[in-house]
């Protein structure tokens, strides 16, 4: 059972504070914040999501720069509390459209109202936006979305994709549109995060795709929806080890290691024709999470060359090649590489005609950073960095530098080849034809090349 719930800003201000059981002292938010801010325990500088101070257990998750915190004295399930904190954030976002410090401050009475219904005396009552609608009466005060930095995975679609109405993903599930009528639409996002490690010789050491099919429905009357996935989709790898690739690369069936589903999903016909049936609840929720270690074509190849030039100088040549089709463009690409600690200066040389590329030497943590606004499929980009050392390097520079890591976002592309073949909405009438958006995006989770 949860004793208190509160939301703290980055500076440690209470934005919302709700005490449910009165068995934890009032100053807990301050104790918590000080502990997190100055965390120092067995070499760690980052506080774990759960810790105990004087018999009080503090749980926290970070959402859009805010700290969502729960306290309890009881020995309860940490997964439950952390999941709940995450869910409170999601419900709040459903209501407010945009979740950030400003929107919570403007709507704190509404948030209190939600909190009252979500938890009673420390016990979770409901986190369903659907159920909450019937007992929450405040109306959200919308903040101007245009000036807000894009947040969350769905916000990716706001930029560079004219086809999608940018405001849709940030609109509240309860607030009415200015015109009075709500637009009938449903969003299905296939979001994949890639973790991949190349060995120094360019061979793939480990790779994994963690995917989510996320849904956000603004359909009235809760119609039933059928979502069809690849017919040849396989789940589970039988007795084989997850890394026993076999010859299944390139084409062929999509094999997921495992997946799980949202409560509302019916799997009656899933085994037969790979369709999911559900009545989507209001708000944003993951229909399905999946994990895949089957071999796939990595979207980027990274090539690193380090040449020593005398005892006080070296040159690093970074090459990035996009291995996806030309009609696809990756954006917000950042390549990072730690260089030897005794590097004092770095000068960069971009390829001729480079557009939208920036370079930086992060002096405090001795990293070079290369940002590329866009990378078109099939293209290759090179960066030359000349390092100057403060003192002579002893031995092997490659042991003191690297690995190269990369972050990127590739809209309308997914590596797993998992697809939503169709999205069927049970028809209410002939004229009923809501907007359906099925969108794909691939992001780097941990994309690393050793040198």
């Amino acid at each position: 059972m949860i004793s208190q719930f509160f939301v703290l800003s980055q500076r440690g201000d209470n934005i919302v504070f709700r005490d449910y059981r009165g068995d934890v002292q009032k100053g807990s938010a301050e104790i918590f914040f000080r502990k997190v801010k100055f965390w120092k325990e067995d070499g760690e500088t980052e506080a774990p999501p759960v810790f105990n101070v004087d018999g009080v257990n503090y749980f926290h998750v970070k959402v859009v720069g805010l700290l969502f915190v729960a306290t309890t004295r009881a020995n309860i399930s940490p997964s439950l509390v952390l999941e709940l904190l995450q869910r409170i954030a999601r419900v709040t976002k459903d209501y407010l459209g945009i979740l950030n410090e400003d929107s919570i401050r403007k709507n704190f009475v509404l948030v209190y109202e939600l909190l009252d219904e979500v938890i009673d005396f420390g016990y979770v009552q409901t986190t369903s936006t659907e159920v909450l609608k019937s007992c929450v009466f405040n109306e959200p005060i919308m903040i101007d979305a245009a000036h807000m930095p894009p947040l969350g995975p769905a916000a990716l679609f706001m930029q560079g994709n004219k086809r999608m109405p940018g405001t849709a993903v940030t609109k509240s599930v309860v607030a009415n549109e200015p015109g009075g009528r709500r637009r009938e639409e449903i969003f299905v996002d296939i979001i994949e995060k890639i973790s991949l490690t190349f060995s120094s010789s360019g061979y793939i050491l480990t790779s994994e795709i963690d995917g989510t099919i996320q849904m956000k429905s603004y359909l009235s009357g809760n119609p039933e929806i059928r979502l069809a996935l690849n017919e040849d989709l396989n789940i589970g790898r039988g007795g084989r080890s997850a890394y026993d690739y076999g010859g299944s690369s390139g084409s062929g069936a999509v094999i997921l290691d495992d997946c799980n589903f949202h409560e509302s999903v019916h799997l009656d016909s899933f085994d037969v024709d790979r369709t999911l049936t559900l009545v989507p609840p209001d708000g944003e929720f993951p229909v399905m999470n999946y994990r895949m270690t089957q071999e796939f074509k990595p979207p980027f190849r990274i090539n690193t060359l380090i040449e020593e030039a005398g005892s006080l100088k070296a040159e690093v040549i970074l090459k990035v090649r996009a291995e996806f089709p030309q009609n696809i463009t990756a954006n917000t690409v950042v390549v990072q590489m730690p260089v030897p600690k005794y590097t004092s200066r770095v000068s960069f040389e971009l390829e001729s005609g480079a557009v939208g590329q920036v370079t930086d030497f992060k002096e405090p943590n001795k990293k070079i950073e290369w940002g590329l606004k866009k990378i078109v499929g099939g293209s290759e980009h090179t960066l030359r960095a000349k390092l100057t050392f403060a003192h002579e390097s002893h031995g092997n520079i490659t042991k003191e530098a690297g690995p190269v890591s990369m972050t990127f976002t590739i809209p309308m592309y997914n590596c797993s080849r998992l697809q939503v073949k169709y999205l069927q909405i049970a028809k209410k009438s002939k004229t009923y034809n809501p907007y359906r958006w099925v969108r794909y995006v691939t992001q780097a989770n941990s994309y690393v090349a050793r040198i």
């Binding site: 704190f108 979770v124 009552q125 993951p286």
Partner: protein, 820 residues
């Protein structure tokens, strides 16, 4: 809602002084209180919002209490809610003012809108003012019977609130019985869940003082209730499912068919996207199959994929919670995860606490076939720019080396670490090389060659320095420079801040002296002189000890500092297996994250769902030896006086109870039926149909619970029903490496240890067991002497009829272990 007035624009975190603003608010509220003008509600809303925003940032606005109450006469539900929130926050500190609110809350409890009834009832319960409880009883009673499920839902939790304000009022009104009725009959699953939560809490607290409550608590995990809840599992919200699953994990099905039924029913819960549901299901599966080794192992295989999926989906925080549980399972059964080692590789952007868990798991799963790859991976981390992780990785490599797999290659790698010339890498590696040499002295030659080249100037960390010095002393004859290196260190004695290093220095120079006397004599002299004048007590004492030892006899001194050493075969594990078992029992709780059983971090009344076995744990775990012994003695003292006088009675009882099993079984059958009737549950599956073959065997409760105090009480009160002495077979003697092995064995037979003490060859253990169908206890004292290979057993029983059956059962269990 009207756009916010400027008040909302500046919810300034820079704290306003408060005073002026609050009295301002007070004025404005007072003006609005009586007003019925249109638009009043909107102005009220703005003012209320201000009040609550002050409350949130910690300004005391309790002084406007009466004004808030005056303004509460409204039909605007948003206003009402704000008012309730305010009142709930301040009533506790203004009990007199709180009385003001009773009126309107009670009135709202009778409102025709169920939403308002529910809200008012919830607020009424949140006042937390003891002398107002009388006003709570009526509305609660009505609320539990309300036609609307929202109101009943609130009322169920309301009962719990009342219990915490005034337990006696709650019990006198017989609310628990009402809750139980609701729990078993309400069509709304959330009402059922709230009743269950409330009852668990109430009976959990009451059980320590009331026999009846203890029985009620037990009844919650009886078959009819468990099956009733399981049959409705899909109706519950995901959160309530967690509550139910947690309860079910305490239930011990009498036979394996039932276990499989439950597991099949809940199989799909493992595919739930909510990690809490999955973990609760996993806990249940693990607990159910504890005594079925094969199935238990299958469960591990089955839960691997869902766990890994949870780890990689969701936020880093959620993934950490799941990963901690995976960590626990990997540590328990590393070989089952050996082929999944690649999933445990660290990602560069993971936080330290995640990487640390992964490194520990990688270390644990290393075996002959994967060591090479794991160590290669770890070496990558060692070269990492992230220093804490680099350190952890080197330690991990060392640990794997100590586990014997492919030591050869690993030693090479460790030595390569030393060539990296990074201070922290060198430091960690030195400590490891020292440990390795203690286990594998045969590697000394290769290691020493490299160690000899390390300048002690480059080693600053005390642990590493101590390790280096130890090696200089231990391998003085193989290291050309050893005496001189030591001499250099002794010269810097004054600057050496760590006493640990100075202690090692003394010992090392002694060792070196005996191996290379002429070269070391001078160094030894100055070391002893420095040591004798050292301010640190231990250093001083050791120097003095060596000095006198040398005066006494040089050869004795030699045998003291340079004895023949045996290679260390196993380094002691830091955590006892008992503690690990307890943490496992507390699966899906904070214990797993903290890696401590809950009594170590939680005070007693908050141990929640695990309170059942709590005190027991304190006892049976040998964490605190003294405590165990103290309790042991308590038991002893209290029993010895009475045994003689009772023995006669016992003999008699034995004679009477020759034909014991039938009545016992029949009795059990009966009680079960009675329970069924009381509940009036129309359940199909769980009804204990009069089985055609009532087993003549005594069935014990696999999850029997008894706290030490009542054990002690019962032991004092009951006569000895059986007293026997037997011999232990040689196998038994061999198996009895610690009391724990026997404890584990008996547990397999549903006989639980409540206290154990002693060391080889003498052990003393107290066991207890319970009948499966009724809370009838069997208590056993077992004294074992391994040197004489004798075991003495005293059994006391609550139900004399089952005495013989239990005695047989106990002895057959013992004989399987090679005793009696």
């Amino acid at each position: 809602m009207a756009p916010p007035a400027q008040s909302q624009r500046s919810p300034s975190p820079s704290q306003p002084s408060g005073k002026g603003e609050v009295s301002d608010l007070k004025m404005q509220l007072r003006q609005l209180a009586g007003s019925r003008a249109p638009g009043t509600d909107d102005s009220k809303r703005d003012l209320f919002k201000k009040v609550i925003s002050y409350m949130t940032i910690g300004i005391d606005v309790s002084s406007v209490f009466s004004e808030m109450v005056m303004c509460s006469a409204t039909s605007d539900i948003v206003l009402k809610k704000m008012c309730y929130l305010y009142v709930g926050n301040y009533a506790k500190y203004n009990p007199d003012l709180a009385l003001l609110t009773i009126n309107f809350l009670q009135r709202d409890c009778k409102d025709e809108d169920p939403m308002i009834r529910g809200l008012a009832l919830r607020s009424l319960g949140s006042l937390r003012v003891p002398n107002l409880v009388e006003y709570l009883v009526g509305p609660l009673g009505a609320g539990l019977k309300d036609a609307n499920s929202y109101v009943r839902m609130v009322a169920a939790v309301g009962v719990l609130k009342l219990y915490h304000i005034s337990a006696s009022t709650c019990l006198d009104a017989d609310f628990p019985a009402l809750l139980k009725h609701l729990m078993l009959n309400d069509p709304d699953a959330q009402v059922v869940a709230n009743c269950l939560s409330a009852l668990q809490e109430i009976w959990g607290v009451e059980a320590s003082s009331s026999e009846e409550a203890a029985m009620e608590r037990e009844a919650l995990i009886s078959k009819p209730i468990i099956y009733y809840l399981l049959n409705r599992i899909k109706e519950f919200s995901e959160w309530a499912q967690c509550t139910v699953l947690e309860l079910v994990s305490k239930y011990a099905p009498p036979d394996s068919n039932e276990i499989f039924d439950i597991m099949n029913l809940l199989e799909d819960r493992l595919q739930h996207a909510n990690g809490a549901v999955v973990l609760a299901t996993i806990k249940l599966f693990l607990q159910l199959t504890l005594s079925m080794t094969d199935v238990h192992q299958q469960v591990y295989e089955r839960i691997k994929a869902p766990l890994l999926t949870l780890v990689s989906s969701g936020s880093p925080e959620q993934s950490y919670a799941v990963l901690s549980h995976l960590h626990l399972l990997v540590m328990r059964a590393p070989m089952l995860f050996a082929s999944d080692y690649k999933h445990l590789y660290c990602q560069y952007n993971e936080p330290f606490y995640v990487k640390k868990l992964k490194l520990e798991m990688l270390t644990a799963v290393a075996n002959e076939s994967n060591t090479y790859e794991i160590v290669t991976e770890l070496c990558e981390y060692a070269a990492n720019v992230d220093i804490p992780i680099a350190r952890e990785s080197i330690r991990a490599v060392g640990k794997i080396a100590l586990e014997q797999y492919d030591v050869n290659a690993i030693v090479d790698r460790l030595l390569q670490f030393l060539e990296m010339e990074k201070d922290y890498v060198t430091a960690e590696t030195l400590v490891l090389v020292k440990d390795l040499l203690r286990k594998y002295p045969q590697w000394s030659h290769d290691c020493i060659a490299v160690i000899g080249n390390i300048s002690s100037n480059n080693v600053q960390e005390p642990k590493a320095k101590a390790a280096l010095i130890w090696m200089l002393g231990e391998y003085a004859q193989d290291m050309q420079d050893a005496p001189y290196a030591l001499e250099g260190l002794i010269d810097d004695w004054e600057d050496e801040t760590s006493p640990e290093v100075r202690l090692h220095l003394l010992t090392a120079v002694m060792k070196c002296f005996f191996r290379r006397p002429p070269e070391t004599q001078k160094a030894l002299g100055s070391a002893l002189a420095a040591g004798l004048s050292d301010m640190h007590q231990d250093v001083h004492d050791r120097a003095l000890f060596y000095y006198r030892l040398l005066q006494h006899s040089v050869s004795v001194a030699n045998s003291v500092v340079n004895p023949t050493k045996q290679a260390v075969s196993v380094f002691a594990d830091t955590q006892s297996s008992e503690i690990k078992d307890r943490i496992f029992d507390e699966f899906n709780s904070l214990s797993v994250l903290y890696q401590k059983p809950c009594y170590m971090f939680t005070d007693k009344e908050h141990q929640g769902p695990f309170a059942f076995s709590e005190e027991l744990g304190n006892l049976s775990i040998g964490v605190d030896d003294q405590r165990v012994e103290a309790n042991d003695e308590d038991l002893l003292l209290s029993t010895t006086g009475k045994e003689e006088s009772l023995s006669q009675q016992t003999q008699g009882a034995l004679l009477v109870s020759l034909d014991q099993t039938e009545p016992a079984a029949a009795h059990a059958q009966q009680t079960n039926l009675v329970i069924d009737d009381i509940f009036g549950l129309g359940l199909s599956s769980p009804s204990p149909s009069p089985s055609p073959s009532p087993s003549p065997l005594l069935k014990l409760n696999a999850k029997a619970v008894l706290d030490p105090t009542s054990f002690q009480q019962k032991w004092r009160q009951l006569p000895v029903s059986t007293s026997q002495e037997g011999l232990i077979s040689p196998q038994g003697v061999a198996a009895m490496t610690s009391a724990q092995t026997l404890v584990r064995h008996m547990q397999g037979h549903h006989i639980h240890c409540i206290a154990s003490g002693g060391q080889a060859p003498n052990f003393k253990l107290f066991f207890f067991a319970q009948k499966a169908e009724e809370p009838s206890n069997f208590l056993v004292e077992c004294v074992i002497n391994l040197s004489t290979a004798k075991a003495q057993i005293k059994i006391k029983v609550e139900d004399e009829n089952a005495s013989q059956a239990f005695s047989n059962l106990f002895q057959s269990a013992l004989s399987e272990f090679g005793m009696v």
